[in-house]
Symmetry: C2
Subunit: 158 residues, 2 copies
DNA sequence: ACTCAATTGAGACTCAATAACATTCTATCG
DNA sequence: CGATAGAATGTTATTGAGTCTCAATTGAGT
């Protein structure tokens, strides 16, 4: 069943490419499939590794070239955590606006539904006569309390 | 009068340094003063230029070493605009939580009071048993409509 | 199958930020 | 007040994510 859903998204990706006059290549499909089998949040480098498992000819440059296509087609989204590298996440079935809560110790990312925020950000921006493209509520936190519960697994290594 | 206020902040900075057993150096003071005479939002490189006007011995490394001290002492704040470099702003008299609205065309940054957000972000994080360190609401927008009003002065150059 | 533009991989490159290290300078103590 | 320890500095090299170049390859319409 999970496979069927992924294939459906893959179809969307193929349609997106052809509609834009772009080619459906093995590398692009490998990168797409990697994005949809990566864990929740992944970096470009994570994606490169995963994609190379599916097609070992995939290069770093191609991953970076594919990422804008995947975001433009709304299949993945950027998750900016204020570090000097970006995270991404597959848009599997996200409907509502989400706030991102990032643990500064273990870099774990929680995404929490926050539908009210979407309206709020728009209101703020439109007061300035700006047209909203994107918005994010980011909360930097520490999971001291979580450690005792075993939910904070990583110690900041990157 | 403006000078008096700045001197007051400078005193805070000096106290911060000595309280932490750090030294009050010319370079650190030059960087502090530069931060408080830069425009609204500045990059590390902007700060280096301004600081060198006050003390031409200031090096890039020292600026990068001073920035965490200035943020830790709450005299400046990071303003992350999702680019690959960071902006900073002096905390002159900001009391309330502010949302950041960034024009994707001209890179102009608007900071808008959004006191409600502070409560909201905390609520979200504390549901996860996380202790909040910092939070930001960032809205990416385009100022097409502003251009006609002449408020969008820069065309993306960086 | 043929063709040609789109796409690719390899590697050079950019640029913000950091690290290493020998030298300089601050603040304290005698 | 001058000596001293070690904090801070500038210089230079380095990192690392992301971008660019270009010759070689490949997809897809014919």
């Amino acid at each position: 069943m999970k496979i069927e859903i992924k294939d459906q998204y893959q179809e969307t990706f193929k349609e997106f490419l052809t509609r834009k006059g772009l080619r459906v290549t093995n590398q692009r499909l490998a990168i797409f499939n990697a994005a949809f089998t990566c864990g929740d949040h992944f970096t470009a480098e994570d994606l490169l590794d995963k994609a190379r498992n599916l097609d070992d000819s995939v290069s770093r440059a191609t991953v970076y070239r594919a990422l804008p296509l995947l975001t433009e087609s709304n299949l993945i989204r950027e998750v900016d955590v204020g570090k000097d590298y970006k995270y991404y996440a597959a848009n599997k079935d996200v409907k509502t606006f989400q706030a991102q809560v990032i643990c500064m110790d273990c870099e774990k990312i929680f995404e929490i539904d926050a539908p009210f925020m979407e309206w709020y950000g728009k209101t703020v921006a439109e007061k300035l006569l700006l047209s909203v493209e994107d918005q994010r509520l980011q909360v930097s936190a520490r999971c001291d309390q979580l450690k005792s519960k075993g939910s904070c697994d990583r110690i900041s290594q990157k």
